[in-house]
Amino acid sequence: MAKTEYMLQTESVIKQYRQSDSVITAVNRANIKIEKGEFVAIIGSSGSGKSTFLHICAGLDRANAGRILIDDTDITKMNADALGRFRGEKMGFIYQKHHLIPQFTALENILLPTVMCNKSDASYQESLRELVECLGLSERLHHLHSELSGGQCQRVAIARALINNPQILFADEPTGNLDRTNADEVLRLLLKIRETRGQTLMMVTHDLDIAAKADRIFRMDNGILSLDRDYIRGNKKTVDSF
């Protein structure tokens, strides 16, 4: 039997915030293992700590305790610069709000990660063409974000997250700011590209319909992460793998 290859593993991740005299535990000993190519959704009520956990897994925020391994590399031991470079190479991130840089056109926003990772022009041409075509952005590439619709902005944000062809994609409610039609369309495109490229996806969402498309669903409740057994699709994954 072939050994399971994990893209993301967390061990007892704890995140606490100090407010005046009290300590709030946003993430409480969270453990998760996500296989390469797997799509995992995390659901939970507002303030349950799911976004915080996602940020920590992507190295955008710091955990108070615990280990996070991305492709068997412990990112909690990395310094800020090394983590930045690692993030640029291995990870992609989609925020709920598109967070496009206003002075740049759609194309420039998409290419931002290639600049940050110092990639040569030749290295991303194919990926760019594929993304632009797939996300239907070819007509809007030279527009500023103020000239794009919400859905188009989010599609640009997806292209930006995928331009470096990351191994794992983190999405923090990527359709949260969109209406149902736009949300479905954006999600469809995102999942299509992910599937084509075989990338791992970890998504935080409120929307159970979206979560239902995932291979596994985890629930975050008051900082405690647990596998939501009700939504295991077709017994694709077993409880043991958790």
Partner: protein, 863 residues
Amino acid sequence: MFERIWEYLSRHIKIAFKSVFFNFKQYSCFFAAIFIIQLLFGMMAISATNNNSVAYDQIAEEYKYHYVIRNLTPGQYDWLKEYGKNDAGIIDKNRQTYYILTEEDGMPPIVRKNVVENKEEYDVFIRFGKLDRDTGKMQSIDKIKEYCDRFEKNYVSKLASLEVGYATPNFTTERTLLLDYESRVAANTATFAVIAVVLLALSIFLLTSIYNIRLNQYKFTYGIYMTFGADFKMLFATAFWEMFVIMLATFIPAALVSTLVVFLIYLPSGFKFAFDFTMILLLFVFSTLVVLISVIMPMFVTSKRRPMSLIVTEDNSNLVTSPRKSFNLLGKSFPGHYEMYSLWRFRKYNIQLLTSAIIFCALFICGLYLANIYTTDLNYPRTQFTIEINDEATIVDTYSASFSESIQGINAQFREDFKEELQKFDKDGEKFSETFNAITGIEPTGNATPKPGDLDEKEGPTTEARYIQSFLLVNNKDVKPFATGFIAYNREDVADKPYEGEGSYKVTNNVVYKAVDNNNRDDLLAFLSQYTIEGDVNKIFESTPEKQYVIVGDSISNISTFNFKEGDKIVAATKIGQATEVDSNLTGTNLLRAQIMCYYYKYTELEVCAVIKDIPSGSVPVYVLNHQEYNSATNQKVDVNAAYKDITGREALTTKLNVYTYDAKYGEKDVFQMTDEHITYIENALRKMISEDRRNSTGAIVVTDLNQLAENNIKEDEHYSELYVAISVLILCISPIIWFFSQILYYFKREKEFNIIQSMGANGSDIRKIYLIGGISMSVLSFIVSIVLSYLASYLMFYAYNVIVPSFSGEYVRYTFYMPWYALVIAVVMSVSCGFFSAYLPYKSYFKNRYSLENGGGGKDDE
């Protein structure tokens, strides 16, 4: 390779260009700041180039010769003259390497009659090599120095042997500044380097400050950059290229404007204006260096933060600080209490803003202080001539009373010879021409700082206390608070018998004892009359062994230290033996403390009869009577204790005379001004006087024209004053840039908070009050901070010029502390108005474009 470099550059410059010009308002402050920095440096660099050519022009104008030999005998002069001819004596390879300049060349008369010996003396002015007067440049200064060295070696040494009657050479030699042109250039270059370093630090401080402010308001962008892989190097690169683009945009205008400003400053001075392209290159390098260093620290700190902390930047903590505060947000104390709390909530920002903005006002005051200080310099008495009256062969006895008479004679002769000139300044009832004294004071002195072996000779009318292990006991009440250089006098620590006088005492050895001689009473009175005196100076001549009077200065290192009044008592301690050796490694007050514990002392009580309020000094001067007869006029011939010798153990033998001449206040008009002709007249008269008095004993007589040197320096530096004023004004302009930039961003970020408050029930009037309270409170704070910082800056400059500079140069010129009030008013008005209007402008903008509740009250996007 080149393709990658091109790719890198084009990407970064494109990103930088778009960032800067898309968000022009955010970056407008940087345009202004970098432009000012470039302007400042450009002006400094271009004026430095010009100063070098000006320095040469001034020297070349003043000195047409490289070398001067004074007081030659006719025989020596003839020998030199003959050898100066091309066809006589001088070996071929040195042909035409020196020329004796004559009156035809515009030199002063070289022959002077020595009245005493009834023969002529000659001054010889020599020029080496060739000087290209057309180009205004020296011809091979190294070659000229070589000629000079050879001349000294081969000819000057022979001059001495030509006159067998003299034990030591009677002539003096002097190399002029024309030979030391390079050292002047080097000094200018060093000054420029120091100023450049200071400017670099200042510029980095300014740019770092405003970059931090911008970063704090727009950290979201950097959070996104970091999300997608940016490390410190990448963040630094993005920031640097942004600044570089701005620097490029302002470079040419700044270079042009700075050239124009310096040109306009030099134009009225009549100096030749020189343009050096290297300086423009230097400006480019300097600007690049400034923008490069300025962004390192902000970007380094940013790179250490987690991207999410940069992306999530909302701060409406006023609204949710505590449930009670949130519930009562719009209570009775709103908005006063609310905004005062905001002041505290953003305290770090406010402190940073106040200090960084107002520090430039303080620097403005420093600049004006600097511009003014050169001219203040000449308003204080300064030695015009120094006359050495001893030589190695002969120990001269005490300063002769006949000197005083000779001085009176010189003054009388001067009045006679320049009667017509002086009469022009006669006014009704005041005969200026009859009372005028060209020589205003004679100060007998000696080697105040002993050389090795000097102490053994036990001579000198001035003695520094610390060199003879003496010290002064001063009653605590007479010492001002914060005075330095004192230790408490603890009677229990004293080796032998302590001083038993009443009260508590402090001890210092920063004292110089000066002998007062009854024979030269008039000279002393004339000399001291140059200063502000409290008390009766004449009383010192009424000293008796029972009651010794002293005249005392009020300062140490030019800082007023004592509260002395007439009748106060001071005590001089004189070493008479020792219990144990003192550790030779000790210095300063530790040494003094150890001496008090190890040595035996006797104590001489001295009553203060007069206090000199503004005498320049490193150590406090204490004038003590020396003469053996306390009242020769009454012919009482009473032997009194010669207090000076009693305290110092040294004979008061004068080895040097400081001569002070009449000097109109600098810049004063319609008063008699001494010209070079008058100074030369006095110089010759003094030489004659010294020759008559010391004909059998004296060797070299050095008469140095110090005051002329100082005046020349000031005239040379006049354009500096204008430059400092221009630079100060530019520095002042930085302050409003920081104010408006910071406050506009600050209030812009708070607009969302104001919208939320409005959604909770606050009305427009409340928001207006918030802006108003913010503006007024910043005005009040800036009023306080600007006064404190301005006072501090003035005092620091005063301290630097009065204490630090003299401690290096050894020349004490005392400046009284003054606050440039007009500058203070400008700084305070600028700070207060900036504090208010930097809140008022965002207020106007908010109400003009406010996001009302119709569009959600959510304010603008962070991005």
